[in-house]
């Protein structure tokens, strides 16, 4: 169970505004990436974000490029989870692989506003906001295993050690 303060965005938040193409081929540490997170969408985000905050958005979050830094920079900024109506498949995979929990609230996120508090219970599959609970589907076990290992790198490392 986690609780965090909300940063709220709309539909189709694309990877270029999350992490600009001009930084994509620069070697950067996760901390440096965090300083550029959401730069072209919300210049106040990188400075204002606190560990444990939660990003909430509309449909198709993370559409566009395959760049994994879009997930890395959000995770490195201290964000505990991203809630969206839906995710692009590449962002979804990258987030899991970076150990960043993603929650799909297909019913909508319009009731949630910036600076609201939300709670996420991953075991029960619920998001609680202003006393109301909303359910989300559990991740497939193959996917959950990656997330529980802390991302794809530790997950594959573990699997390689077994063989």
């Amino acid at each position: 169970m986690i609780e965090g303060k909300v940063w709220k965005y709309g539909d189709d938040v694309n990877t270029d505004v999350i992490f600009a193409g001009k930084y994509t081929y620069k070697p950067m540490t996760p901390a440096e990436m965090a300083e550029r997170a959401l730069e072209d969408l919300d210049p106040t985000f990188a400075k204002g974000v606190k560990p444990g905050d939660i990003v909430v958005a509309g449909a198709n979050f993370g559409c566009g490029s395959s760049r994994e830094q879009a997930a890395t920079c959000i995770k490195a900024a201290g964000v505990a989870a991203v809630i969206a109506v839906s995710f692009s498949r590449l962002f979804f995979r990258n987030a899991i692989n970076e150990g960043l929990p993603v929650v799909e609230l297909a019913g909508g996120t319009t009731m949630i506003a910036k600076d609201d508090k939300v709670q996420i219970d991953f075991e029960k599959g619920t998001v609680t906001h202003k006393g109301k609970s909303y359910t989300f589907p559990a991740l497939p076990k193959e996917v959950l295993a990656i997330l529980n290992d802390g991302g794809l790198i530790p997950h594959v490392k573990k699997a390689l050690l077994k063989t």
């Binding site: 505004v17 001009k22 994509t24 081929y25 198709n60 395959s66 590449l90 692989n97 790198i153």
Partner: protein, 423 residues
């Protein structure tokens, strides 16, 4: 009930008799692609503690995003990649200048019907044009593929997009795919396998089909398939690196959604700033002043695109105050364009002809935009800030619309301007 292309190809790769929609399968791709991001992927791969890439013959690496290197950092990345491929014995390495990965893989015979190709680039969907199942993955996943050769994939539900009738010149597959994305939205086919079919698709060249499959990801799709046919097989005749077996969907396959278009009714389309699904007929934006015109990219940098654009540029001059950039998609395309006299047409018109590569499409180098500038481009994305300044704007269009607009200095309907005799 029959099976879709996605079900059939994933069942084959997972060595199962059938797979259900939603089923997660563990598969070994036939080929995996990475580009300039290989430098970062190699560093991640090193974290596994595995000395050697498993099955190096399955990896194709193409330098295209920042070539030739414009900064010391890019140059360092390229150098590390050259050292990595030499150490790992990766033979399918194409250094800067050979071309854009999504043109190089088909040309070099890696994009095969019925194959599974994954790439650490979102436009890996392109190879669906040759009947492959191809999709983008992230950098960590590519590193894991280096180590294990295996990956999980979820079997998607499928959309069928049937296009009847014939496209009317100078309307192209770019106009068609922009129209579809405008209609269904940037998430209209989220996580779906898109199958293009119908008379108009059958009549198209492979180059035109590559545009449809390339841009499938812009409607959120996992892949975008065109049925391989005689044109596909002829193209691959002296190129295919391996034997292949085409896979076709069953005629009674189940589709979540079917859409039908009439190609003959379609006019030129433009995606307005700052999303690919912000699509309008060209008439709506005619007269918009432009500062830059970009012809090229993995979407529209092929010979037929250059040929089409040249018809509007032959014997003309690019408008004063406008710069035009031409980036052929590969050396092969560049050579054919040279032989066909197209490069001379571009240069005489005042265009800058640049080396094959991704160029300014992603804003990393070679023609980025200043605040307040407007670009019309044959690329596949127009997100805010992508091509440079956050206060610049990009319109997406066909090679015909881009070339006609470069001459006029404003966004122009290519049907309304005179053309030279042309190549």
């Amino acid at each position: 009930m029959g099976l879709t292309f996605a079900q059939k190809v994933l069942a084959k790769k997972a060595e199962l008799s059938t797979v259900a929609v939603g089923q997660i399968v563990d598969v070994e791709p036939d080929f995996c692609l990475s580009h300039d991001n290989t430098a970062a992927i190699a560093k991640t791969f090193a974290k596994f503690g595995v000395e050697k890439v498993k099955n190096p013959e399955r990896f194709v690496i193409v330098l295209d995003h920042t070539v030739p290197a414009s900064t010391e950092e890019y140059a360092k990345g390229h150098k590390e990649i050259r050292e990595f491929v030499a150490k790992q014995g990766i033979k399918a390495f194409y250094d800067g200048g050979v071309g854009i990965c999504h043109q190089v893989l088909p040309e070099m015979g890696f994009a095969l019907p019925g194959s599974l190709i994954l790439g650490s680039d979102s436009h890996t969907t392109a190879y669906g044009a040759l009947g492959a199942f191809s999709a983008g993955v992230g950098r960590s996943e590519m590193a894991a593929l280096y180590a294990t050769s295996r990956i999980w994939l979820k079997t998607p539900t499928s959309f069928k997009i049937e296009v009847r009738g014939k496209l009317k010149e100078p309307v192209t597959s770019k106009d068609l795919v922009l129209k579809i994305i405008g209609d269904i939205g940037a998430d209209g086919a989220l996580y779906k396998s898109v199958e293009y079919a119908g008379e108009a698709i059958e009549a198209m060249s492979l180059s035109s089909r590559l545009v449809l499959s390339n841009m499938a990801v812009e409607m959120g799709a996992k892949n975008g398939y065109c049925a391989p046919d005689k044109k596909t097989f002829a193209f691959l005749e002296h190129r295919a690196v391996a034997e292949y077996t085409p896979i076709y969907p069953d005629s009674d396959a189940e589709y979540e959604r079917s859409l039908t278009y009439d190609a003959s009714k379609l006019g030129p389309q433009v995606a307005k700033p700052h999303t690919v699904d912000n699509v309008a007929p060209v008439e709506e934006v005619e007269g918009t002043k432009i500062d830059q015109a970009l012809l090229g990219t993995c979407t529209n940098g092929r010979l037929e695109d250059l040929r089409l654009a040249a018809r509007y540029l032959e014997g003309k001059k690019i408008a004063k105050g406008v710069r035009m950039l031409v980036l052929p998609a590969s050396q092969e395309v560049l050579l054919e364009a040279l032989r066909g006299g197209l490069i001379e047409i571009f240069v005489r018109a005042g265009a800058m002809v640049l080396n094959p590569g991704c160029g300014p499409c992603l804003g990393a180098h070679q023609g980025v935009l200043a605040a307040g500038e407007v670009c019309i481009s044959t690329a596949n994305r127009n997100f805010q800030g992508r091509m440079g300044s956050n206060e610049a704007a990009t319109y997406l269009a066909s090679p015909a619309t881009v070339a006609a607009s470069a001459v006029a200095g404003v966004i122009t309907d290519p049907r309304k301007v005179g053309r030279g005799g042309g190549a």
